[in-house]
């Protein structure tokens, strides 16, 4: 369920565009920031607010990789496997990371703490390999030691 505040924000977003459907993507971002992900009832709420069908909102939310339609762990790691990172050993590192977390990319650890996702370029190629934690913390020049440190920190956070 969205908070009243979020609903007000979405109404404001809708007012910014000539066609309210333009507010769907920012509304989804807003909802995801508040709820953590986009469960069915939130999709329905946004559909009702914007005046579109649930299937249309779902179409947008599943088209873009940064919207989560499945409940993620407490923390989400986006791991870049694009060319520059790959050249600097990202694929090997990802394998190690999957091994240490005990889950494949695209899934969440059994304890529900960490979701690991493969990502397209995160804009830090000069410090490849890079990853992004919870959408705001960049980690760069990744090594095995740095990964271990990070996992330890996130598990205990």
């Amino acid at each position: 369920m969205l908070s009243e505040n979020a609903k007000t924000q979405i109404a404001k977003l809708m007012a910014q565009y000539p066609d309210p459907r333009s507010a769907v993507m920012p509304a989804l971002h807003l909802a995801q920031r508040e709820v953590g992900w986009l469960p069915d009832d939130v999709i329905q709420e946004i559909a009702d607010l914007v005046g579109l069908a649930k299937t249309e909102i779902n179409g947008v939310a599943t088209f873009y990789a940064m919207y989560a339609r499945e409940q993620p762990g407490t923390h989400t790691i986006l791991f870049c496997t694009d060319l520059p990172c790959a050249l600097r050993g990202a694929d090997k590192l990802l394998e190690q990371l999957e091994h240490r977390l005990g889950c494949q990319a695209g899934h969440t650890t059994a304890d529900g703490k960490i979701t690991l996702k493969e990502a397209e370029c995160l804009g830090g190629c000069d410090h490849a390999p890079v990853l992004l934690i919870d959408g705001n913390e960049h980690q760069q020049d990744m090594t095995l030691e740095k990964l271990d440190e990070m996992i330890e920190r996130l598990k205990n956070a």
């Binding site: 069915d40 999709i43 069908a53 649930k54 299937t55 249309e56 779902n58 179409g59 599943t62 088209f63």
Partner: protein
Amino acid sequence: MPNVIIDNKPVSVPNGTLVVEAAKQAGVDIPVFCYHPKLQPVGMCRMCLVEVGTPKRGKDGQIETDANGKPVIAWMPKPQAACTTVVSEGMAVRTDTAQVADARRAIVEFLLTSHPLDCPICDKGGECPLQNLTMAYGPGTSRFPVESKFHNEKRVPLGDLIMLDRERCIQCSRCVRFQSEIADDPVLGFQARGRGLEITTLSDPPFDSKFSGNTIDICPVGALTSRDFRLSARTWELRDYPSVCAHCSVGCNLLIGERDHAIKRIVPRENEAVNEIWLCDKGRFAHHFATAPGRLTQPLIRRNGKLETASWNEALDLVASKFAEIKKQNGAHALGGFGGDRAANEDLYLFQKLFRHVIESPNLEHRVGWSATNVGADLVRLYGAGVGTNLGSLDKNVTVLVIGADPEEEQPVLRLRLTRSAKNFGAQLIVANGRVTKLAKHAKQAVIYRHGGEAAFLLGMTRAILDEHLENQEFAATRITNLSAFAKSLEAYSVEKCAELSGVSVEAIRGAARAFAQAPNGLIVYGREAMFAQQSDLAVASGIATLLLITGHVGRANNGLVALYPHNNSTGALDFGLMPDHGLGRAQLGVKGLAARELATGKVRALYVMACDPAADGAFVKPEFLVAQDLFLTDTAQLADVVLPAQAFAEREGTFTNTERRVQLFRAALKPMGETKPDWWIIAEISKRLGSGWNYGSAREIMDEIAAKVPLYAGMNYATLAENVQLPRPRAGQGNASHAPTEIAMGDLENISSGKTWASVAESDASVKFELMWNEPKGQGAGARGQYTLAVARVIYDRGTLVSQTPIVQPRVPALYLEINSQDAQALGIVRGARVRVTFEARVIEAPANVDGRVPPGVVLMPQNLGGALALPLGARVEIEKV
């Protein structure tokens, strides 16, 4: 009208025409997958790529010409999508070049990389656009090894009726667009992207739409298949017989796909004036009654209290001798007949002829379970919508007042067509009801009146029109006898008073009045909830007549009344006078027979019941001698002394008259089951035994007699009804009417016939003058004891005999429920699904609550045709409590 050259063929088409449509007119076929003439173009599949060029202009702005004086064409560097490119003056299009052939080959090859090779077991095989276009334009072989094919889920139930094969889907979005653009149920959508892109439904229940079956027809591959027809026959083994739907009164044209004397599937038959190329799911899937194992196959006679099989001669002799005996003893008035409005015109005509001319009894009815006091028979005869009215392509010059109707549940395809008129062509809808209906979404004005206030609302509109002098004075001067006296007699009813009585605001009444009176054309669509409104049905009927007359909206196409009747041939039953007070051609009679209630409660000694089930409504008293003629052993048949097995619509030919008074022919598709006989044959045999000397060899002969004897049906014999008529097909968005047939997956174009509509008095006789009259609108409140007003509605999937024979639609038949507004529910502490008790006088019904915002506060709704609620009248005041 831009002039275009397509493959060197010049063609002139209206502004805004798409290249793909212009090509059809030039006789050039451009292959398509995602494009569909009934849907907005999206340009997704790229199959329609063609070379496009426009006249080259020099620096001076003049068109450059070559040595022969012909314009030089500047060809666009890459091929363009013909389905999204709009023609312009001088445009040239090439579809026969190597570049175009290459493009088509590439698209087909690309589609086939992820399309399985299971044509031999695919339902679409044989009528599949992908299969056909691959043969025509695709590469003969693939460059991809078969092992590298993309695989996906193959059997994904998309609701109860449709099966999705994800591998076969080519993501053209025809189904998604149909659901949002045409059906107005946007329950299908795309999910994810790229190779992961798939069709999903998020509604509950899945694929929640009454039109889902149409996506099977328009799917250009075998991705969407019918869970009813699936894998039961190859399409080329089917024989298609043109028929007409036997459910509601829209009269959708259809094709019965027959094999091995069974109906394998039903698909729409194009009729731009009735159903375009659509069918509702009830019409498409609920056909199993026609071949159900529970059908009656032999005549039955009651011996020692038990129904036992008998020969036709025994049964018919017994019926005739009993009828003769009773007539001799007590006179003809001791006999009566119910001729159900599901029977064909030929049957109904003979049924009334038997009673009026052979038995000589006026006791005839067809209205079982619905009010017999309505005056719809006269209204439609006088003011029925003009011939040529097409409810699916009404434009901004037509205002349609829809009152007391819920076409989504009762006439689904008609709702779809009215929505199309409003959405695509700008028709102005005024939707007035006591609750929110689906049609209201696209209404220019949605009016919610208090139940029982419909007549006051109409009277208020009339008064507002007269107040503002918006009446059609020219029409009034020549065709109305008493306008000024009428206006004077209305003085006591101000708009304000009508507003108070109806619960509609003064502004809303005036707004509706202006919109209706000032429109160049006006139609009134009048539904069940207004026709059978408690105590006010006469006032509603006169209110409708008055509105049509003072605005002059009668006697022309797109003007007049469309009365929405419950069954496939209700109009026919009215036309042939199966009423105690109206005869053949709806002529009013001096003598009056017994009313339906009297017939059903033993006021006659002998009762002949054909194609209806009066005993199912309760309070039925069996007369001394009861004859039931039906497909099934109905409640009435179980009580009968003689039971006569009739044939289903698919086993015989005949005609039905739809709710717009369109007479349509249906053909026999199946071998009759057992010893069943057509209704007309049975009636004729009884009549012969009563000494009538009738000699009818076929339904066709009876229709010949009708065409000669009934002026409304003049000239409507089988030959003229079957005439191949192809109407212009107005297009959404592109503004031009295409005469090319809409792509139909199956059936021959020769099967397209538009049927014939009879003209109302207002239209056929310009010398007839009309008298205005009105009836006191009985405001609500008289005798009101309960807290809540009960709206009794009908739902599409009911618990009736016909629907119950089709297992696949049963999950869609709801259990009886009570719909209540969330405000009222909260006040009573009722949550969704909680059991509630409805009390009306001494009657108590319990049902689970369905809490939503469609009924206004103070109103509760209970479906009438789910059993249980039958006995409660529309508009009754009831008490509601939580159990």
